[in-house]
C-alpha cells in the first residue's frame, strides 16, 4: 500500500509533459493524452490479460440472466450437494441451488461493490486531496494530518468500525469499504496536486485570472487523473477483497445473496462433503482481484516505465 | 601546448623503456537491447605502459566507460558480454579469467574510481568500513591493522582528522572529499593500474584541479599507471602522456599528447579540441566561442555505413560514406582512422 502510494507520487512527475506557458483546458489535453496512454498500457502483456478478464467479468455480470441456467436463489434446482456435472457445472449447494448460476449472478454484486466503493473513496478522497493541495496553509495542514491519522489505521479496522456503526448489510459493507480507502486516495491526489500546482500551465491560468473553481476543476483535476486511474484500478481489487471479507464474516451480504464471500461463509459447514461449494466462489474472487491487479500494474508501467514491479 | 603533460618517468633508470602493463587487443563488448545487439566497444586496441597516464577521450556513448568496465570484468551480463579480443595483464588474459581470479585483481592490482563520488559510496556504511573491507580482502590484515592503513591512506589524500572521519558516513562529506576517499580506497592496496572514469566531471572546477594534482602526485610516488577516462580535452592536456580517442565504439586516433594537440589526424579529435574554450580569452565571456561538434554520437544499433563519423564530419566525401577507414597503425607513433588525415591542418597552437 505504501509502495503503491510512492509509485503514484513518483509517476505524477513523470506522467506527462504539458506545454509550458500555455494554459490549455486540462480536459482537452487529457482526452488527447488518453489515446496514447491506452495504447501504451495495452502494450503490456499483464495489462492485456487483465483487460480481457475484466471485460469477461463485465459481460458475465451484464448477461447474467441469459448465461445462468437457473435463477440464483432457486432452491431445489437440483438435488442438494450434487457434484459438478454437465447440468450443474459447479455442482449444487446445500439447498440444491446451482452454484454456477450463483457465481454468475455474484459477478453483478462484485461489480457493484467495485463501482460504489471505489466511487466513494475516489470522489471524497480526490476532493480532499485536491482541496488540501490547492488551498495550502491551515486547510492543508489540518486535512492532511487528519488523513494521515486515519491512514495509519489500516482499511480493515476502519471498515469494521463503519460496519459496526451502520450495521451489517452488503450496501453498508460497500460504503464501509469505500470510506476505509478514502485516506489513501486523498494522499495520492494531494501529492499529485502539489506537483501540478507548480507547473507552468497552472501559473499561466492563475495569471489569466481564473477563479478557484475554474483552477481546480478545469486545470488541476484533469491533470491529476492519470495517476488516480492507476490507484482506482488497483483500488477495485482491494475493495472487492475487503467487501468479500466482510461478507464472509457475516458483516456484509446476508444469505441468500449470491455474493461470493457470503457463499463461502455459508458453504463452510459443507466443505467436508462438498468441497466445490468452497472452490468456485473463491476462484471467482481471486480472478476478479487478479484482473484488476494486472490491469492496474500494467497501466502504472505504461505511465512510468521506470517503475516495474 | 607547452604546459604540463610529460612528467619524468618515475623510474630512476632513464635508459629503460617503459614496459607494457596492460594490453587491450581487439576488444569487443556487446549489449543486447530491444533494438538489437549493439557493440559498445568494437575492436579497440591500446597499451598502457608502466607509470604512464593514458587518456581515453570521447563524448558520452563513445564506449570509453564500457572499455574500462570490460577490463575490470564488470560488464553486467546480461545484457552485456565481452564478445571478443583480449585484455592482457601480467601475462594473463583477463577476459578468460574466472570470477575468483578477477576478484583477486580488482581493487588490488587494478583499481578503479568513478565519476560520481556521491553515489559511488554506500550511504549506509561508514567510510571506515568501506575503506577497510577492500584492504582486508586483499591483504589479510586484521580490522585494527586495516583501520591503521586506512587512516594512513586518508592522510595521503589530505583528509584532515582521518581517525575521526573514519566513523562518519558519506553524506557528511563534500563531493571533493568523497572523491579523495574513493582515490584512497583505490590506492590502498598499491595497485599497478588505476582506472579513473571521469574522476573530476562531477566536481567544482577548483576541486577538479586538486583531485588531478592528487592523482599526479600518487602516480609520481607509487609509479602506478593511470588510465584516465574523460571527455574533457583540458583535463587531457593537463594530465596525459598519451591519448586514445574513441568514437562510436572504435579507436579513431592514438598518439602522444603533444602530437594530438598540435596535429590531430582525425576530424573528430580536431572537433573535440575546437570545443575547448580558447586559453587567454577567458576574460571576454561573450567573445569566446565554444565550437561544438554538430550532431550526436550515433546509436550503436543504427550506425552509418562507411566511416562512423561521416555524418558529422565537415571533410566527409563519398569515399567516407562508402568505406570504413582502417586504423592506420604506425606502431608507437601517432595514427588515426581517417581517409583524410592529411587534409587536416595543424591547430593554431602548432602553427604559432
Amino acid at each position: 500500500m505504501q509502495n503503491r502510494l510512492e509509485k503514484a507520487i513518483a509517476l505524477a512527475g513523470a506522467a506527462h509533459t504539458p506545454a509550458a506557458g500555455v494554459a490549455p483546458s486540462g480536459w482537452a489535453v487529457l482526452l488527447r493524452r488518453m489515446g496514447r496512454f491506452w495504447r501504451s498500457a495495452m502494450s503490456n502483456r499483464g495489462a492485456r490479460v487483465g483487460m480481457v478478464l475484466v471485460t469477461v467479468l463485465v459481460l458475465v455480470a451484464f448477461f447474467a440472466p441469459w448465461i445462468a441456467p437457473y435463477p440464483p436463489d432457486e432452491m431445489g434446482a437440483g438435488m442438494s450437494l450434487l457434484t459438478p456435472e454437465m447440468a450443474y457445472p459447479f455442482g449444487t449447494d446445500e439447498f440444491g441451488r446451482d452454484i454456477f448460476s450463483r457465481v454468475i449472478w455474484g459477478a453483478r454484486l462484485t461489480i457493484q461493490v467495485g463501482v460504489i466503493a471505489v466511487g466513494i473513496s475516489l470522489t471524497v478522497g480526490t476532493l480532499t486531496g485536491l482541496v488540501a493541495g490547492y488551498a495550502g496553509g491551515w486547510t492543508e495542514r489540518i486535512l492532511m494530518r487528519l488523513v494521515d491519522v486515519v491512514f495509519s489505521f489500516t482499511e480493515t479496522l476502519i471498515a469494521l468500525a463503519a460496519v459496526a456503526v451502520l450495521g451489517p448489510s452488503l450496501s453498508n459493507a460497500m460504503i464501509a469499504v469505500g470510506i476505509a480507502a478514502i485516506p489513501f486516495y486523498a494522499r495520492v491526489a494531494y501529492s499529485v496536486t502539489l506537483v501540478e500546482r507548480n507547473r507552468a500551465y497552472f501559473d499561466a491560468a492563475y495569471v489569466q485570472g481564473a477563479g478557484h473553481l475554474r483552477l481546480i476543476f478545469l486545470h488541476l483535476l484533469p491533470n491529476i487523473i492519470p495517476p488516480l486511474i492507476v490507484v482506482a484500478t488497483l483500488g477495485v481489487s482491494s475493495a472487492v477483497l475487503a467487501a468479500a471479507g466482510l461478507s464472509f464474516l457475516g458483516l456484509g451480504a446476508q444469505p441468500p445473496s449470491p455474493e461470493w464471500g457470503a457463499m463461502l461463509s455459508a458453504g463452510r459447514d459443507y466443505f467436508n462433503q462438498a468441497p466445490w461449494i468452497m472452490i468456485y466462489p473463491g476462484v471467482a474472487i481471486m480472478i476478479t482481484v487478479l484482473a484488476f491487479n494486472l490491469l492496474g500494474d500494467g497501466i502504472r508501467e505504461a505511465l512510468d516505465p521506470r517503475q516495474t514491479v | 601546448m607547452s604546459a604540463t603533460k610529460s612528467i619524468e618517468a618515475p623510474n630512476d633508470e632513464p635508459a629503460t623503456r617503459p614496459a607494457p602493463v596492460l594490453e587491450v587487443r581487439d576488444l569487443c563488448t556487446e549489449f543486447r537491447t530491444k533494438a538489437g545487439v549493439g557493440r559498445a566497444v568494437d575492436g579497440v586496441s591500446f597499451t598502457l605502459h608502466e607509470g604512464e597516464i593514458l587518456a581515453i577521450v570521447g563524448e558520452s556513448g563513445s564506449g570509453k566507460s564500457v572499455t574500462s568496465l570490460s577490463i575490470m570484468g564488470l560488464i553486467p551480463d546480461p545484457p552485456g558480454r565481452i564478445a571478443g579480443g583480449s585484455v592482457t595483464y601480467g601475462g594473463r588474459d583477463l577476459t578468460r579469467l574466472d570470477e575468483k581470479a578477477l576478484q583477486k585483481l580488482r581493487g588490488n592490482e587494478i583499481a578503479m574510481i568513478f565519476q560520481e563520488p556521491m553515489t559511488s559510496l554506500n550511504p549506509v556504511l561508514s567510510i571506515g568500513r568501506q575503506m577497510t573491507e577492500g584492504i582486508r580482502q586483499h591483504t589479510g590484515m586484521s580490522e585494527a591493522e586495516a583501520r591503521k592503513h586506512a587512516v594512513e591512506m586518508m592522510r595521503r589524500v589530505s583528509i584532515p582528522a582521518p581517525e575521526k572521519r573514519l566513523g562518519e558516513y558519506p553524506h557528511q562529506f563534500s563531493g571533493g572529499m568523497l572523491q579523495r576517499i574513493m582515490i584512497a580506497i583505490a590506492m590502498s592496496c598499491s595497485p599497478r593500474v588505476l582506472i579513473a572514469d571521469e574522476p573530476t566531471t562531477a566536481l567544482d572546477v577548483t576541486i577538479q584541479a586538486q583531485i588531478l594534482e592528487l592523482m599526479r602526485d600518487l602516480r609520481a610516488t607509487t609509479g602506478a599507471s593511470i588510465m584516465l577516462i574523460t571527455h574533457d580535452m583540458g583535463v587531457v592536456a593537463e594530465m596525459a602522456d598519451r591519448v586514445v580517442v574513441m568514437y562510436a565504439g572504435r579507436k579513431v586516433e592514438e598518439g602522444r599528447v603533444e602530437d594530438i594537440f598540435a596535429r590531430p589526424r582525425h576530424p573528430y579529435t580536431r572537433g573535440l579540441l575546437a570545443a575547448l574554450p580558447v586559453l587567454g580569452t577567458a576574460g571576454e565571456v561573450g567573445g569566446t566561442q565554444l565550437n561544438e561538434i554538430p550532431g550526436v554520437v550515433p546509436a550503436l544499433t543504427d550506425l552509418p555505413n562507411g566511416c562512423r563519423f561521416s555524418d558529422r564530419c565537415a571533410l566527409s566525401t563519398d569515399k567516407c560514406l562508402a568505406e570504413d577507414p582502417p586504423f592506420a597503425d604506425r606502431v608507437g607513433a601517432h595514427s588515426a582512422a581517417c581517409w583524410h588525415s592529411d587534409r587536416l591542418a595543424p591547430t593554431m597552437e602548432a602553427t604559432s
Binding site: 505504501q2 499483464g46 495509519s152 479496522l157 468479500a244 471479507g245 468452497m278 | 583499481a111 573491507e133 580482502q137
Partner: protein, 307 residues
C-alpha cells in the same frame, strides 16, 4: 535524529488523541437510538432500564462533557463494561490480545522469511524465468483472499489429512492461521522487496563494491542488503499493521481466540463499549509499532541517525 523522533512521537500522540475523539463519538453516528439497538436482542428490557443504561453511558450529557468523562475513565484504565455479560472491557481485551499478537508476529516472521528471500532472488535474477515464476506467484498471492486460502488449508491439512487440529488456541492451532496470513502477505513483501532491491542493484556503489574486489556474497549481503533494508523496514512496519487487520478475519476462519474474533462477535451483538475498546486498543498497538519502526529506521539510516 532528536527532531525526527520528536516529530514522529507528536504524530503518534495525535493519532491516539483523534482516535479517542472518534471512538467516543462512534455511538452517536449509529443511525437510530443506539441504546435500543444494543438491547434489541435482549428480551424484555423495560424503558426504565434503557434510561438507566443511557445515564450510565453518559449519553444524556452534552458531547463535550461525554468526551471529557470518557477520557477521564480511559486515562484511569477504565474502558467501560460490556453490554453482554457486564464484564470489564479492558480485561477482556487484554486477556485475548496476546493471542492476536502471537498470530500476527508469527505470520510476520513467515511473511518476511518467504517474501524477503523471494523478492531478493527475483531482483537478483531479474528478467530470468525464475523472476517471472516468482513474480507470477506473487501476484497470484496478492490476489488471493486470505480467508479463502485459510479455508482451503483448513480443509486439506486439518479435515482431509488430519495433520493439524481444526480449531482451538494451542501451538498446533497456530500453524494454519499463521501460514495463511503469512503467505498472502509474503507476496506483498516479495513484490516490494524486489522493486526496492532492483533500485539498489542499479546503484553505483554496488559497482564500486565489485570494483574493490569484494566477493559477490559480501557485496550482496553487506552492500546491497544493508542499503535495501531501510525502505524494507519501513514497509515491514506497515505490514505488521496489515497483519493485525488480517488477523481479525483469519482468527474467525480458524477460531483462534484473539481480539479480532471477539470484535466480530461484539459487532454482531452491537456491544458498543467492547467495540470502542477494541478500536482504541488496536490504534494504540498500531501506533506503538509504528513508533518502534521509526526508531529502527532512524538507527538503520545514518542520514537520519546523525542529523
Amino acid at each position: 535524529m532528536a527532531s525526527f523522533l520528536a516529530q514522529r512521537l507528536f504524530a503518534a500522540l495525535l493519532t491516539i488523541l483523534v482516535t479517542t475523539v472518534a471512538v467516543s463519538m462512534l455511538i452517536h453516528l449509529v443511525p437510530g437510538d443506539p441504546v435500543q439497538i444494543m438491547y434489541a436482542q435482549s428480551q424484555g428490557t423495560t424503558p426504565e432500564q434503557l434510561e438507566e443504561v443511557r445515564a450510565r453511558l453518559g449519553l444524556d450529557q452534552p458531547l463535550m462533557v461525554q468526551y471529557i468523562q470518557y477520557m477521564g475513565r480511559v486515562l484511569q484504565g477504565d474502558l467501560g463494561r460490556t453490554i453482554r455479560g457486564d464484564q470489564p472491557v479492558l480485561e477482556l481485551l487484554l486477556a485475548r490480545l496476546p493471542n492476536t499478537l502471537i498470530l500476527a508476529t508469527s505470520a510476520l516472521v513467515i511473511a518476511c522469511a518467504i517474501g524477503l528471500v523471494c523478492g531478493f532472488v527475483a531482483a537478483y535474477r531479474r528478467g530470468t524465468w525464475l523472476d517471472t515464476l516468482l513474480m507470477t506467484s506473487a501476484i497470484l498471492g496478492v490476489s488471493m483472499p486470505h480467508f479463502w486460502l485459510g479455508l482451503i488449508l483448513l480443509f486439506y491439512f486439518a479435515v482431509h489429512l488430519q495433520w493439524l487440529p481444526v480449531a482451538g488456541s494451542g501451538a498446533a492451532n497456530l500453524v494454519l492461521p499463521a501460514v495463511t496470513l503469512g503467505v498472502t502477505n509474503a507476496a506483498i513483501i516479495a513484490r516490494l522487496t524486489r522493486s526496492s532491491m532492483i533500485d539498489v542493484f542499479d546503484q553505483e556503489f554496488i559497482r564500486t563494491a565489485y570494483a574493490k574486489g569484494l566477493p559477490r556474497a559480501l557485496v550482496l549481503y553487506r552492500h546491497a542488503l544493508r542499503a535495501g533494508l531501510v525502505p524494507i523496514v519501513t514497509m515491514i512496519g506497515l505490514q505488521f499493521t496489515y497483519m493485525m487487520g488480517g488477523a481479525i478475519v483469519v482468527e474467525n476462519v480458524f477460531g483462534w481466540n484473539g481480539v479480532g474474533r471477539m470484535a466480530i462477535q461484539a459487532i454482531f451483538q452491537r456491544d458498543y463499549p467492547l467495540i470502542q475498546g477494541f478500536i482504541l486498543m488496536f490504534a494504540v498497538v498500531v501506533v506503538l509499532v509504528s513508533v518502534l519502526m521509526d526508531l529502527l529506521y532512524a538507527w538503520l539510516d545514518p542520514r537520519i541517525r546523525n542529523r
